[in-house]
Symmetry: C2
Subunit: 408 residues, 2 copies
């Protein structure tokens, strides 16, 4: 099946080189294809590592081992396999990951727990150890490659390469950040895996890097949804090589900590939104802003209830300002809400206020807004100060076509 | 938009008359249509009432008032309005319901809290009080009608009339039950409201009727899903007229209590499954059986996570035995699960056992099963004795067509 480039795609951005990060790609041929499908990021000694992983109770061995290894906070290498997710493969899957860690740690002279592995693609088939070994051997002697090459190599069903860069001033030192991500949805039997990696030359203590990543994740990757489904392999990691020479950031009181965290969050938000833009069948990018909730977390859950509602997503696909479906989605969220203080706007025009339809609101700008590609829905619960933004896409025939009409 | 009869439809069954229940219908003309859209069920003095209502935080006035009134346990009348849900209409909506209660209580000489009202249809428009009043006046002098006529009158976007009957022996007395329901999904801007009513001639104490209904609801209406969306008006009520002359059932120790509760649950299960059979765009009826969970409740939540997964539902639409998507849905349920004890079957054939694909399982019967209209998915978590069954339908182009392609 040929899937065409998403109409919401963005061009790959200019991204800074990150001192201490060397990218290489190779052909492991995990599937019958002629493309690079193994990515090897070599990281300088002293690189700090942080990671957030899927909450799935059926996580892959890569996730289990990565979640454990990241606790020591150091990384020397990241290997990403595309074409085989190695999920639901039991002890044989685990052996494959351990073999990669052993091979790379021997080549680089580092600990096995400094080697992080991700895999994405077919599930239920153990990652072939021989292909991985040959792929890594090839990568070790390959020429360094660009961000875009590496991004293409980690992709599976993505219809465009997704990257985002940022910089921040830490004291007098400018630090750079570069992030890449894969994820769109899935084609049977692939999982809808989201794999994201952010690299920076900043000097950041591992504990603070972890804290900043978790905080950024909560407001970005945890606020997007395509279909509410969660992969067994979802992973976002951050690596800080300390090559910029800034005074080390160890906590929120360190100079530049806020600026660095804001830049990290920016990269995460951009990457998260790019995943939504590549949502299967997506024709419209939807931003849902919830205010007036009892807490930010409650606002986020209300937003995700709206964003995951098939009835809301099909209404937007149909360019219908159907605030009734938004009311329904607010009501089912399981969060504090009051029908009689609830207000809803499309494209900045309030169509319902304080529990009642707005009589005679101007429908023309609402209709024009809904014909566009970027849709804004605002919901005010009228209860408190909690707020959140979440992002999703519409639900179209394209989603059904990708996921039902074609067999694995 | 013309919606054709669901391919999964069932003929309306023979149903017993229930002594003490008189059904009448009338044309209130809540919409521009020429059909009966007001249903009036008159109930004999001494009728016990029980009800379960939507958990939506944005429930309609009908639900708010019904939830309160049912606590006194008696009913003399049920009025169902089709075409206008009266949801999200503030104090004016509440006044409309109270006007109906006042009119009917005056006509029957009963308390206002013995008059139950449900409404389904357009939201955001207060139920027109004059149309309701005229409709009730017409209904009060109309000839009694059949179950099927009443079922058609409560329907909105339903593509077929849904009813189920049962009987039970209470001591030496045979008691009859008859249930009707409306619900399928929604057409903008209707809500996907499910309204179900079960009538019986049994003599049942209100508290026990409530308990039996809640228990039946937990295993039936709470175990179905079409798209995971919850209406602001969902209501299921039971009415027991006491005309059968059985020794009153007051608790589980009363003779015939188990038989009555089983018959009630049977009716509820049949009605619930009929709603799924009328799911928007449904082409396949899916039964998901979960076993080996840590509790029945946990099993139900895992089942609903599978049943609500767009990726699972599109896989079934595509006749693809995609157990990887089932693994994903188990993993994201937030319930105890272990990848390495998880087993999955389609049509009775295990395709994955104890966390690994079953090598060389017979694909032919699985493929044949998936081509049928009735799909069985079994999931064993391998952890405990908890079990549950849930029912859903596939996710097809028909769902998108109904909900996105046509404007309200």
């Amino acid at each position: 099946m040929q899937i065409s480039r998403s109409p919401l795609a963005r061009p790959f951005p200019e991204m800074p080189a990150i001192a201490g990060v060397t990218l290489r790609v190779a052909r492991a041929r995990y599937k019958e294809w002629d493309r690079c499908d193994l990515t090897f990021a070599e990281l300088a000694e002293g690189t700090a590592a942080a990671g957030v992983f899927t909450k799935s109770a059926c996580a892959s061995s890569e996730v289990e081992l990565g979640r454990e290894a990241v606790k020591q906070g150091r990384a020397r290498a990241l290997i990403v396999n595309a074409g085989n997710s190695n999920a639901f493969t039991g002890y044989r899957g685990r052996e494959a990951v351990e073999a990669i860690q052993a091979q790379v740690s021997a080549a680089l002279g580092c600990g096995v727990d400094e080697v992080f592995v991700s895999s994405t693609g077919v599930i239920g088939v153990p990652l072939p150890k021989d292909k991985a070994r040959a792929g890594i051997e090839a990568a070790l002697v390959a020429e360094p490659c660009s961000w875009e090459d590496a991004t293409n190599a980690i992709g599976t069903t993505d219809t465009f390469a997704k990257g985002a860069g940022a910089s921040a001033m830490v004291g007098d030192t400018r630090v750079e950040l570069a992030g890449i991500i894969k994820g769109s949805g899935m084609i049977a039997p692939d999982m809808a895996t989201m794999l994201g990696y952010i690299f920076t030359d900043a000097d950041v203590a591992p504990a603070f890097l972890q804290e900043a990543l978790e905080r950024a994740n909560a407001a970005t990757f945890s606020c997007i949804t395509v279909d509410g489904d969660t992969s067994t392999s979802d992973t976002v990691m951050a690596f800080a090589t300390a090559k910029a020479g800034n005074a080390r950031i160890t906590g929120w009181d360190s100079p530049g900590a806020d600026a660095f965290a804001a830049a990290l969050a920016d990269v995460c938000r951009n990457l998260a939104q790019l995943v939504v833009r590549d949502g299967e069948g997506a024709a419209k990018f939807i931003t849902i802003r919830v205010s007036g909730a009892v807490s930010d977390d409650s606002a986020r859950r209300v937003g995700l209830s709206i964003a995951n509602s098939p009835l809301v997503k099909t209404a937007i696909a149909g360019e219908d300002a159907n605030w009734g479906r938004v009311v329904m989605a607010v009501g089912k969220a399981g969060e504090p809400a009051d029908r009689d203080t609830l207000s809803i706007a499309f494209g900045g025009i309030w169509t319902a206020k304080n529990g009642l339809p707005v009589e005679g609101y101007d429908e023309a700008p609402v209709a024009a807004h809904l014909k566009g590609e970027e849709i804004d829905i605002a919901v005010d619960l009228g209860l408190g100060d909690g707020r959140a933004a979440v992002w999703t896409c519409d639900l179209t025939h394209g989603y059904i076509a990708i996921n039902a009409d074609y067999r694995s």
